[in-house]
């Protein structure tokens, strides 16, 4: 079956010839009309629309946005903060970058609608330090919006005021974790907080109730405010509503970003039809479907089980190519949709080396606060790097798995899972390659072999 057509609601204007990131262009294309209309409605109505929409967060965890908003402590008497998580850092993910660079007002409008809905008077956009241009573009866009009375005091003649400031990170993946981000925004090391008690919805920024939403998520909110939650929920599939942006990188003919109704496209359609298939003369070997922490899938393996379709339980028997790219299906087969970052590896890749690359990333990014992640991530890196650059032992495969097994579920934040899932899944799917690596190394590599570590 050929791939469905893209449906660009968030990326509608990305790469559109002549579309510029200034407010004039945005307004010419109907920008801020949704905000104008939203501020005439009751905030609770807007929250209801988001709940009805079934929107799930696009940062990686896929947590329902309406539920997140529903958890906010509105009785504390303290101010409620909204933080835009623009710390796009999960390797393989590069969607928010384009929204902020090319269509910043879409984000600002979505942010202002969300702030109005939640009675937020102060929002911060926490943007990656490595995106200095993005930060400048957002600052300019906010200034334009402020000048046009879309942001700031008494917006659009109402008595509702809300300010947005841009806050730059400085090179720490862990700031993508919402409580780490809050610590960082408070001017500290980005050590994630223990939960309980520090759930952002209750004790977030400055110990006040805080909403942390991903850039793309807030753009979806704008769409929902415009078209209604019910209408939005018609896009995609039940439980996976709206559109999904896939960021494809690695060994395909046409890497890039593609927006589809959620759950309507399979991995095979995405990689073969949309991205043009493998590079000439190569075959697909493995794919990581939701950012580098998601568990890897091996081409050729089968996923079998029962799943719910409507009210029925039906059998499924999928190859990698058959798996629908939605949160639930990917979760069901033991991996995750995560942030939508799809990393493709072909038959030239040695999995020991690929894992060594990933382990180097996570050990570098561990905040170091809690023991299993701090020590485990570096240990896994040391083992896998030694295998590549020093002596590889057949027993290293079992050791790597054992170390990885000691981490998830025991750490302060989800980084424990993020850093151990790659090792667990690489060993589970490509264990032979790890056991035989000492032999593999004896064979000279082709001159054009790509180094991964």
């Amino acid at each position: 079956m050929p791939a469905p057509a893209q449906r660009r609601i968030i990326f509608q204007h990305i790469d559109e010839p002549g579309y510029t990131n200034d407010i004039g262009c945005y307004v010419r294309n109907g920008g801020y009309e949704v905000l104008k209309q939203a501020v005439t409605r009751k905030p609770e109505e807007l929250i209801d629309e988001v709940k009805k929409s079934g929107l799930r967060g696009r940062g990686g965890a896929g947590f329902p946005c309406g539920v997140k908003w529903g958890l906010v402590d509105r009785k504390s008497g303290k101010p409620i903060y909204l933080i835009v998580n623009a710390d796009e850092s999960e390797p393989g993910t590069f969607k928010d970058r384009y929204i902020m660079h090319q269509d910043p007002h879409q984000l600002i409008e979505g942010t202002m609608i969300s702030c109005f809905a939640n009675n937020v008077r102060q929002a911060y956009i926490y943007i990656r330090g490595e995106m200095p241009h993005g930060a400048r573009i957002l600052e300019k866009a906010i200034a334009e919006a402020r000048a046009a009375n879309f942001v700031g005091p008494n917006i659009l003649g109402t008595n509702y005021s809300c300010e947005i400031f841009v806050h730059r990170g400085a090179g720490a993946y862990i700031c993508g974790e919402e409580t780490g981000l809050i610590e960082s925004l408070e001017g500290k090391r980005a050590n994630p907080r223990i939960k309980p008690p520090y759930f952002p919805a209750v004790l977030g920024l400055y110990q006040c109730p805080t909403i942390v939403n991903n850039v793309e998520t807030l753009c979806h909110v704008k769409y929902i405010a415009q078209h209604g939650g019910a209408e939005y929920a018609k896009i995609g599939t039940p439980g996976n509503t709206g559109t999904r942006i896939f960021c494809v990188s690695g060994h395909v003919q046409r890497p890039g970003y593609y927006e589809f109704p959620a759950g309507t496209i399979t991995m095979g359609q995405l990689l073969n039809d949309v991205c043009g298939g493998p590079l000439p003369g190569r075959t697909f070997k493995a794919v990581i479907p939701g950012g580098s922490s998601a568990k890897i899938m091996r081409f050729g393996e089968r996923y079998k089980g029962k799943r719910k379709v409507g009210t029925e339980m039906v059998d499924y028997d999928w190859g990698v190519e058959d798996v629908p790219m939605d949160f639930d299906s990917l979760g069901m087969i033991g991996t995750m949709g995560g942030s939508g970052g799809v990393i493709v590896m072909d038959d030239t890749v040695n999995m020991v080396e690929a894992l060594a690359n990933i382990n180097a990333f996570y050990s570098h990014e561990s905040c170091g606060q809690c023991t299993p992640c701090r020590e485990g991530s570096l240990w896994m890196k040391k083992i896998s790097s030694r295998m590549v650059h020093g002596q590889a032992r057949p027993e290293d495969a079992a050791l790597l798995k054992s170390v990885a097994d000691q981490i998830p579920g025991r750490t302060i934040c989800a980084f424990g899972e993020a850093c151990s899932w790659p090792t667990q899944s690489f060993i589970a799917k490509f264990g032979d390659e790890f056991k035989q690596y000492s032999e593999t190394k004896k064979t000279a590599k082709p001159a054009d072999a790509v180094a991964l570590i």
């Binding site: 928010d96 400031f165 720490a172 400055y206 890749v349 690929a354 790509v450 991964l452």
Partner: protein, 161 residues
């Protein structure tokens, strides 16, 4: 700490963005680094005094975030992405090319003082890998040939000065 008047006024302005002064730690460090090129030894004490903190609070932050540097770098800062998507399409070769072109090693100032090459983690532009951030400018699909071309540009600029 010898900061430009413009930097000082930006510092005073950015502090007003937050109900708690400590939040301005990262913004201040960015502003100082943009002004001076790195964070000199007295940065922690200066920022601490400005934000009513203890100096150790600032030093903890400076050393946590890799973008903050306590030593001067070359005139241009070349950051090559090391992470998987870029590595899969030749990021390591791209990095080696810059190192060779400027006869330098990672993290060091090149002998001609022109550049510092760093191999950094994911720059979030995996679809156009390998990517390189030169100062604030992102360069996409930087293979060996493009790395050489960018190096030549930098060298040519250096000659002009």
């Amino acid at each position: 700490m010898n900061l430009k008047a413009e930097t000082l006024s930006k510092i005073d302005e950015v502090i007003t963005h937050y109900p708690v002064k400590r939040s301005a730690t990262l913004p201040l460090l960015h502003l100082i680094q943009e002004d001076i090129g790195h964070l000199p030894a007295d940065t922690s004490e200066w920022v601490a005094a400005k934000l009513e903190l203890e100096p150790i609070n600032v030093l903890e932050v400076i050393t946590f975030y890799p973008m903050f540097r306590q030593k001067p770098i070359g005139r241009r800062h070349i950051k090559v992405c090391r992470t998987l998507s870029c590595a899969l399409v030749g990021g390591y070769k791209t990095c080696a090319t810059f190192e060779a072109e400027f006869k330098t090693h990672l993290g060091e100032v090149s002998p001609d003082g022109e550049v510092t090459v760093d191999f950094v983690e994911c720059l979030a532009s995996c679809g156009t890998a390998p990517v390189v951030l030169i100062d604030d400018e992102l360069h996409e699909k930087v293979d060996v040939a493009k790395a050489k071309q960018l190096s030549d540009q930098i060298k040519a600029e250096a000659k002009k000065r």
